[in-house]
């Protein structure tokens, strides 16, 4: 891929960009390859309806991966995602009481909860020097305990509430043949790409991730950037929780469990460096699509659960060995 063909992710060092962009294209290529193999094995796997269904499942991972990508880009990690997602989903359902009139209130409340949890994570990590792994791990436990305790294990009176019907039908609707859920994801992709590639805040994220000390000396408020990114991670986890509840109708416990590893895997497969400073959300998007397409294919093959788990691990290792190796020191 030549520099000239680039459509402009910003003004970062161009030679570095081509490597990273090639990686994103390769990941999209991998997704297409999975669909082609699937179409070969199962006629109909790559039909429009099937692709749409797979993309919708990938969009849930993709929403969570947006937040995870933000914190990974500064060398952090968010392990609190499963129960932030779950707590926001439960709060959304219980606060709305299944009424459309309370939908907006419940929506804001749940999104606010996600951002608030992210704020606490970010403050403790950047101002109190608690390691990110420890802080977000502890926060996951805190949110789990709060969710279980406050709802008495989801047996409370309001816990049986459904998501507001208006939102349920909205999320299942299609606009010009495209599911609204996918349009929402596309909006998020545009917004995150805009932030990362076309704003000074995006530039600050990459500079903080590459070298926090140098960024600080250059006048970047490294701590504030870190706090905002953890807030965004909490926000996107909450958004995914709300969308999942609206999609399935009711909140359940353990809703968020698969999303921790899948969000990290999607980001890493898509070329986001876990030590920070490199990668793009578009890569994580491609990673989420290839990951979910692969899992769907294995399901279509009637692969038992344990086999899927093993292949999933092997697939991540292969991708890592192909692309994730550090420079030789």
């Amino acid at each position: 891929m030549s520099v000239g063909s680039s459509t402009g992710f910003g003004t970062r060092a161009r030679d570095l960009l081509t490597v990273d962009r090639r990686r994103i294209l390769v990941t999209f290529g991998a997704a297409i390859l999975v669909f082609l193999v699937g179409a070969f094995l199962h006629p109909g796997f790559a039909s429009a309806a099937s692709i749409k269904a797979i993309l919708v499942i990938a969009s849930f991972v993709g929403l969570v991966a947006a937040g995870q990508t933000f914190v990974l880009l500064v060398g952090g990690i968010d392990l609190s995602i499963p129960w932030v997602l779950n707590a926001a989903g439960v709060l959304f359902a219980t606060a709305s009481l299944g009424r459309d009139s309370r939908a907006a209130y419940a929506l804001l409340l749940a999104l606010g909860l996600g951002a608030l949890v992210g704020l606490v994570n970010g403050l403790c990590i950047s101002y109190l020097a608690v390691p990110a792994v420890v802080m977000t791990l502890a926060m996951n436990g805190i949110m789990e305990g709060l969710t279980l305790g406050r709802t008495q294990g989801l047996t409370c009176e309001t816990c049986r509430s459904y998501a507001p019907p208006a939102l349920q039908s909205a999320i299942h609707a299609q606009l010009a043949g495209i599911p609204v859920q996918l349009i929402l994801w596309f909006g998020v992709i545009l917004a995150v790409t805009f932030i990362l590639s076309f704003t000074t805040f995006g530039r600050k994220i990459y500079s903080t991730g590459s070298n926090a000390v140098a960024s600080y000396l250059a006048g970047v408020n490294v701590r504030a950037v870190t706090v905002i990114l953890y807030m965004l991670s909490g926000f996107f986890a909450a958004l995914a929780g709300i969308v999942l509840v609206a999609y399935s109708g009711q909140a359940t416990l353990g809703l968020g469990d698969p999303f921790l590893f899948q969000s990290i895997a999607a980001a890493v497969i898509g070329g986001v460096a876990i030590l920070g400073g490199r990668g793009h959300y578009l890569g994580a998007v491609a990673g989420a699509i290839s990951l979910i397409a692969l899992i769907s294919l294995l399901q279509a093959e009637n692969m038992p659960d344990y086999g899927r788990s093993i292949l999933y691990g092997v697939a991540i290792l292969v991708v890592l060995l192909l692309f994730g190796r550090e420079e030789r020191t």
Partner: protein, 333 residues
């Protein structure tokens, strides 16, 4: 207190006890927290039942803590090299499942399978280490992937919870008659103190402190990393065996909870996630803190649903205290 995580007093611009206190603050704190919690447990127990915890209670505490201790000591070794091992849960799953499905009630079978499972754990760990060191991959990603593989293997071996552990095996390893399993803890603690002073122990710390400096000094960084991960796998397998013995059955998902508890124990034990400092003795204290905390919450009448909330809050406060106290002592020099 001969096992100071880092005796760097002579190398440092600060000298004397203050510096060493600051350096070891979170390590010392883990024992202070353990003592405080134990007293609280005894007090609450007495308040509820008008008696002091006896042999039965202490045996139960020790037997619950041992699997966490074993896996946490392995995790400590990896964290000191500046890594992390998420696959320990999978290694416990596989060891637990293998023991429950294959062990027969004969001495040869019990010893044979125990040794085989321990060796297998070490091999799994070494594979992690090879991928990290020779594959130049991030430990968190490698062990995330191998975790998925091991979890799959465990379910393949033992699709549903069950199987049977020979009663004599359970009675030997996890006797309910008295806290005899403390012997294993003493063994692990002594092994740590020896390891710490062996060449490999020094090298593990050196890598965690400054990998490129260690390499420049001729330390075979990659081989040491493989050994560190292998030790973690070995100890996780031991944890799986003990867990099988104390629950007298197998469960292919029994190990999953130990991923997080091992990390929490390491954190409470004052081991730095930035590598190069910490003592496994701290993690042993941390593992006991987590176990006793569960009992304290129970006797304090706290709804078990809130348990993980208090554990999380407790973890944050402990880490925060370690950081703050260390800074205060340093600032006062």
């Amino acid at each position: 207190m001969s096992d100071m995580p880092r005796g760097t007093a002579t190398l440092s611009p600060f000298s004397g006890w203050r510096h060493s206190l600051a350096q070891n603050m979170s390590f010392l704190l883990s024992f202070v927290i353990l003592a405080g919690l134990t007293l609280l447990y005894i007090g609450l127990f007495h308040g509820q039942l008008n008696a002091y915890p006896g042999t039965f209670e202490w045996t139960s505490v020790v037997n619950t803590a041992v699997p966490t201790v074993l896996v946490a000591v392995g995790q400590t070794i990896v964290v000191i090299t500046r890594g992390i091992d998420l696959s320990v849960g999978g290694v416990i799953d596989v060891s637990n499942a293998l023991a429950a499905t294959h062990m027969k009630d004969s001495l040869a079978s019990m010893v044979g399978w125990s040794l085989a499972i321990l060796a297998l754990g070490a091999v799994f760990g070494a594979i992690n280490g090879i991928l990290v060191a020779y594959g130049r991959l991030q430990p968190i990603l490698v062990t995330l992937a191998t975790l998925a593989i091991l979890q799959g293997l465990a379910i393949w071996i033992l699709p549903e919870p069950g199987g049977l552990i020979p009663p004599s095996y359970s009675n030997t390893l996890a006797s309910t008659q008295g806290p005899w399993s403390l012997c294993f803890l003493a063994l692990v603690a002594v092994a740590w103190l020896v390891l710490r002073r062996m060449t490999i122990g020094v090298r593990i710390f050196a890598i965690g402190n400054d990998e490129s400096a260690a390499r420049a000094h001729g330390i075979p960084v990659r081989r040491v990393k493989v050994i560190a991960f292998a030790l973690s796998g070995l100890l996780a397998a031991a944890s799986g065996l003990f867990l099988a013995a104390s629950t007298t059955g197998g469960d292919a998902a029994a190990g999953d909870v130990y991923i997080l508890t091992s990390i929490a124990a390491v954190v409470l034990g004052g081991i730095s996630f930035y590598g190069g400092r910490g003592s496994a003795l701290g993690s042993i204290a941390g593992a006991f803190v987590l176990t006793i905390l569960t009992n304290v919450l129970f006797f304090a009448g706290i709804n078990p649903l809130y348990q993980s909330f208090f554990q999380g809050v407790f973890l944050v406060i402990a880490v925060f205290l370690g950081v703050i106290l260390g800074r205060l002592v340093k600032a006062s020099t």
